[in-house]
Symmetry: C2
Subunit: 144 residues, 2 copies
DNA sequence: TATTGTTATACTCTATAACTATA
DNA sequence: TATAGTTATAGAGTATAACAATA
């Protein structure tokens, strides 16, 4: 019976789940703040970061962002209007448009990932051994 | 120089950061799915979960959800229209409206937290010792 | 005067459905 | 006919500013 499951979770597990919730909240806060410093929304920042690795068809972007293709049009429109992204034809298929970062877009994307100090500060207090341990625990948690 | 910091992050730390990113994504996916099963948006589910603990003034809700008070009005409106939440006067201050879950709202909130199997499955493969270790590492990561 | 909640407004993100141009 | 991208539309979340009721 579903409503009884909760009682079977031990306090330690609940504590860990709660900590993970805090990690999630902190991660999002930092990401949104970093995006806002560049006057970007979260979705725009995510799309820009994706494109900073390689140009992608609109369709691929939708898959990666887990949203409908129609939404990507608007997000790319707004980034294009700011000169951070551009649309290019795909020589091999004229239906496809490749979205790609401009020089300025790459600059912003780099600065964005630098601003994500989640990468540094929260882990700064852990030793190499502890990071190894954390890595292994997270890996086992994520791959059942 | 900000653009050089990235190169100073060792591969192990990057790996851990990447894993945390995956945890965040997985957590959100599960939360949104659980909310969608009850035809709730993420914001509505979060607000309902908050209220399932205790009635709160609209202002407090805005603080907890980290959004403007004006937005809470609409979210509570929609939950109230579905009979999951109600507004009550605060006897001690007639300016204040307390949002509170209905009986049905509590049921949905409980079912929602049950559906959040993130609490169970991802941690199922870890022993008690490993959970203790994970808890301590996350705690130290979050409290610098 | 300050605070609580609301309204009004504008923007973004989201999904759905219909359209176009290619394949 | 199938696919890629777009447009149109509607609902929801968000911030800002202005407002009424109460403190």
């Amino acid at each position: 019976m579903a409503t009884q499951r909760t009682t079977r979770i031990d306090p330690l597990t609940l504590e860990v789940v709660d900590l993970i919730g805090t990690v999630v909240a902190r991660y999002h806060e930092e990401y949104e703040d970093a995006a806002a410093e560049h006057a970007l929304t979260g979705a725009q920042a995510r799309l820009l970061s994706l494109l900073s690795l390689e140009p992608l068809p609109m369709r691929r972007l939708a898959q990666k962002l887990k949203c409908e293709p129609s939404n990507v049009t608007g997000i790319v429109d707004r980034l294009e209007a700011r000169g951070l992204v551009e649309r290019r034809p795909d020589p091999s298929d004229r239906r496809v448009k490749l979205a790609a970062t401009t020089e300025e877009g790459r600059r912003v994307a780099r600065s964005l990932s630098d601003a994500l100090n989640f990468a540094r500060e929260p882990l700064a207090g852990l030793s190499t051994e502890e990071r190894l341990s954390l890595r292994d625990l997270l890996q086992r948690m994520l791959t059942p």
